[in-house]
C-alpha cells in the first residue's frame, strides 16, 4: 500500500479536506482547510480531485518518508522544500520514490502550508469528511511522529504546473458586512473603521483573536445562544473581536457585529501573530 510515514510534525500537522458543512444543527462545526484555495491548488498539482484530503502544516517543520512512489506538492506561503536533503520547488509536483524523504521548512511569511499527495490522504471519513476538528475532536488526531498515512488511488496528473506562492501581507484590511447584531453597538461602522488591532498569539483554527481597540456596546448582557457562521466577528464582554474560523462553535451568546465574507477568510488563516488589522465595513 502506498503511504507516508511521519518523521517530524512541526508545531501542528493536521489532515484537512474541505470539511463537513451541513451538520451545524447537530452541533458539529464545518472544519476543513483554513486556506482552502491553497489545498485545492495542491490537489490539482498532483492530479487529485480538489476535495481530496491533504495536510495542513502550521509553520513547517514537517518531515515524511514515502513508501511506494507518489507525487506530492506543497502550496501556501513560500517555504523551503527538500527531497532527500536537496532543495526542490514548492508549488510544483515533486515525485517521490520508495524511501524518499521530504521536508517542509518554515514558511517565510504566513502560517500554513498545504501538502497534497497523489491519491489523497486516505484515512476514514467522519461525518463525510477526513478533517481534524480541534474544537470537537472529530476526525483523526493531530499527527504524531511515526504515524502512517495511507494514500488512495492516484488520479491522472494534469502535467507540469507551477504557480506563485501565497504572499501573506503584514497588514490586513478585512472587509466586514455589518450584522446580525450591529444594533448592540454605538456607531458600529465608525467604531470598526477607527479601531486598530493586531493578530493575537491566542488565535487558532477556532477563531482569530484580535488585540487592540475594545469596541463599546450600547447594551450589556447576553443573547440567547444563536447560530454562528464561519467569519462571524463576535464581541465578548472585553470588547476585543474574535473572528470565527472553520472549527468554530455552532452557536454562541455574545453579539456578532458583522461577518467577514468567506472569500477573504483564507488570508486570516495565514495571518501571523502581530500582523496589523483594520476593518473595512462594506455594503
Amino acid at each position: 500500500m502506498r503511504r507516508l510515514t511521519v518523521l517530524a510534525t512541526g508545531p501542528q500537522a493536521l489532515v484537512q479536506d474541505l470539511g463537513r458543512p451541513g451538520h451545524a444543527h447537530l452541533g458539529v462545526p464545518p472544519s476543513g482547510a483554513l486556506d482552502a484555495p491553497s489545498l485545492t491548488l495542491a490537489n490539482r498539482l498532483v492530479g487529485n480531485p480538489e476535495d481530496a484530503a491533504g495536510l495542513e502544516l502550521l509553520l513547517g517543520g514537517f518531515t515524511a518518508r514515502a513508501h511506494g512512489s507518489c507525487t506530492i506538492a506543497v502550496t501556501g506561503p513560500s517555504a523551503e522544500i527538500r527531497k532527500n536533503g536537496r532543495l526542490v520547488d514548492s508549488h510544483a509536483p515533486i515525485h517521490l520514490a520508495e524511501d524518499d524523504v521530504v521536508q517542509v521548512g518554515t514558511p517565510r511569511t504566513g502560517l500554513r502550508c498545504y501538502l497534497a499527495a497523489s491519491g489523497g490522504i486516505d484515512v476514514d471519513k467522519q461525518l463525510g469528511s477526513r478533517s481534524t476538528d480541534v474544537l470537537s475532536g472529530i476526525g483523526p488526531a493531530p499527527l504524531k511522529v511515526d504515524d502512517v498515512l495511507p494514500l488512495g488511488t492516484p488520479g491522472v496528473p494534469t502535467g507540469e504546473d507551477v504557480v506563485p506562492p501565497v504572499n501573506a501581507p503584514q497588514e490586513l484590511a478585512i472587509p466586514i458586512v455589518l450584522g446580525p447584531r450591529d444594533d448592540w453597538f454605538e456607531q458600529p461602522a465608525e467604531q470598526l473603521r477607527r479601531g486598530r488591532w493586531t493578530m493575537s498569539d491566542r488565535s487558532n483554527r477556532v477563531g482569530a483573536r484580535l488585540d487592540g481597540t475594545a469596541l463599546q456596546r450600547k447594551q450589556n448582557g447576553e443573547l440567547p445562544s444563536e447560530g454562528l457562521v464561519t467569519g462571524a466577528v463576535q464581541i465578548p464582554p472585553n470588547g476585543l473581536p474574535v473572528i470565527f474560523l472553520n472549527d468554530h462553535p455552532t452557536t454562541g451568546g455574545y453579539p456578532v457585529i458583522g461577518v467577514v465574507p468567506a472569500g477573504y477568510l483564507p488570508h486570516i488563516g495565514q495571518a501571523r501573530p502581530g500582523v496589523k488589522v483594520r476593518f473595512q465595513p462594506v455594503e
Binding site: P21, A24, L26, G27, S225, E226, V229, A262
Partner: protein, 196 residues
Amino acid sequence: MLLRRCGTDAVLVEVDSLGQVAAVRAALQGIPEVVELVPAARTVLVVGGLAQVRQKLENIDLSAPPQTDKQKIVIPVHYDGPDLELVADTANLTKEQVVELHTGATYEVAFCGFAPGFGYLTGLPEPLQQPRLDEPRTKVPAGSVGIAGEYTAAYPRATPGGWRLIGRTEITLFDPRADRPTLLAPGDEVRFEVAG
C-alpha cells in the same frame, strides 16, 4: 419575525418563541440550496438559498405546529447525580418525586449546540426549572443528565459545564463514525426512564 443580515449568503431569522423557531425550521427544511439550517432559542440561522428562503417566509404561519417526521427516543437514566439532592431541596420535593417528574414528561429537542450531539430539550416540568450552579464544574462526565433553566440535556462527552446534574445515562449520544452520528436532532421527541 425579523430577518437579520449575516454576511453575504446567510440570514438570521429572529422570532419570539421556541414554538415559532420550530415553525420556521419546519418551513425551511428540504430546500436543496440551503447548506445549514440551525435552530436556536429565538432564532434560526439559514446559510444558502436565500431567494427561496425569503419566498417561503413570506407566507409562513408561525402559529402552525410543524408537521415533520420526528424520531421518538427513550433515554435510560441512573438517577444518582451529584446535584439530585440540591434539585429536590430547591423544588421542595423528595428525590423520588424529582425522578417521577423528570421521567413523567415528554420532551422535544428544541435545538443542538454547545458540543456535537448536545440537545437542548424543552418540556421540563416547572418545579425542575432551576438556575445553573454558581460555580460551573471544570469537567462534567460524559453521559451526565442535567437541568438548567427551561432545558434538560445529556452531555455527549466530558466537557466543562454548569448544569445541575441529576443522573447519568450509558446511551451513546454522539458517534462520529455512525451513519446517524447524533442520537438527537432538532424536533425529536424524547422521554427519560429509570435505567434497569
